[in-house]
Subunit: 333 residues, 2 copies
Amino acid sequence: MLKMTKAALAIAALLGTAALAHAADSEPIQPIKPAANINLGMVELGKKLYFDPRLSKSGFISCNSCHNLSMGGTDNIPTSIGDKWQQGPINAPTVLNSSLNLAQFWDGRAADLKEQAGGPIANPGEMAFTHTLAIDVLKSIPGYVREFKQVFGKDKIDIDQVTLAIAEFEKTLVTPNSRFDQWLLGKKDALTKDELEGYKLFKDSGCVACHNGEAVGGNSFQKMGLVEPYKAKSPAEGRVAVTGKDADRFNFKVPTLRNVEMTYPYFHDGAANTLTEAVDTMGRLQLGKKFSKEENARIVAFLKTLTGDQPAFQLPILPPSSDSTPRPTPFSK
Amino acid sequence: MLKMTKAALAIAALLGTAALAHAADSEPIQPIKPAANINLGMVELGKKLYFDPRLSKSGFISCNSCHNLSMGGTDNIPTSIGDKWQQGPINAPTVLNSSLNLAQFWDGRAADLKEQAGGPIANPGEMAFTHTLAIDVLKSIPGYVREFKQVFGKDKIDIDQVTLAIAEFEKTLVTPNSRFDQWLLGKKDALTKDELEGYKLFKDSGCVACHNGEAVGGNSFQKMGLVEPYKAKSPAEGRVAVTGKDADRFNFKVPTLRNVEMTYPYFHDGAANTLTEAVDTMGRLQLGKKFSKEENARIVAFLKTLTGDQPAFQLPILPPSSDSTPRPTPFSK
């Protein structure tokens, strides 16, 4: 057996750390970092709001309805279900690691998580409420009144506080510790031979040109259908809706591939049911490449190593409404 | 200061316990007991199934959608929302402490939790699926295949296992330790003077004739509108649908009053928005009594002491679908 002194062990550990840091730095994908600079009181409040269907007209739809944290932060259906079962125009992107996105929504129309959080509440096709009515509900609930005061130190509740708290909770929804990240951080047996070959293919074929960085995506807008046009099932036209520039037509935010095994179906229209199908389509349309069955399977094997630690927290218990709380109206116009 | 030997303290504690046990026994309401004889593996599996919308046709509705454990095990709307936003015929009863009910559903048509659990999955107005299709989905999900095998020791998955696991999870959803139970168990300062007076009124006025036992209800069927007829907003006729006896028309299971502050709106048609309104209606229709404003307020104050420890567990993470998993069809006929 090897014998080392404590000092020798410490030096070896330091050297090891330095070597690993170097290895990770030289890869186009970086490990997910656990959340930092987090206001825990605001997180607890934001978590309740995220799960509270009273922020919708019907009293039935919460943020978690379509960005379900039991299911990869998505709803796993092509397009979401909104108030009165309206069919949404686009696939619900995962909320996991969304703090790493350069902007929010597929077309980047919200600058950050705070701005995003206000959208669905007031969208007639989603939660179908208004910010004013949502605040009226929250102001009438004594448990919320106390908690907002505790967190923000003010006697009033406004939509800025609501979206700030939801965004703070969402900042905690990062998923470190995937097998791929363990490999990046030096656990060389964390991946199988097939998975490593899949990663090499992912890099060598050019996938990594858009899917890179900490979130393996989320940091640029790109045209869907670069080499071959994409026949979308969704009417969404992407970034042009924000910039008004024709060159931005069908430009969408590159989705993160973190936890991609859980975030099916794929693409902005949710048209691809499986990773096999998504990899094939991406290869052809974006790279002009037809992956063989074996290549495809290896890339898929690699992609499945990107599933990290899922959010781990107690189901929040919501403060009950009071006699004066406006009641939801799920069946009225 | 008092000085007691250890032995004297022990004797005093024993005497105290005996005295308290006696006190609790002499009351018509007994403290909620924590769940016992629980199969923890089955609970973990049942918890996932309870939160899994893939047991519905749409992939959007889970048990937790209408029996939301963040909101007192109910949906806090008069009647539930089913597949394609169908309006349910009756108010969703709380799942909390439902293991203490003499039977399940308002009309008692299911003998126990296991039998109940199969109902909504196959109800065209609720989850709109079939047991066969639900099993097909589960069988295609490797994470479930492993977990069912671990729990039941068999290679096959069937609906009996599904409903057994959901029922086992539901058995854990008891809510001990309410302030009222603390008082029953000897903490004499757990209730205020008003709350105690409310409890006395609750007993002396006759409410306790039906709302008694561990669940403060749930252990008998009674006619809704005993002294004065009740003008229901629901077409449901109650127990007659099960027995076929005309005498059972408008007989409903007496709901538990545990956590009643969280389970608004009230009655089988969800017509009463507040406890004040519910106490007033019950007094007039069931007891021929008009409570004064002060009496009503005291009874309500007592009822709010029945809120116990809410379910405390980590949000379950669901095993992802595989390529062969049948996809939900939220927008098809």
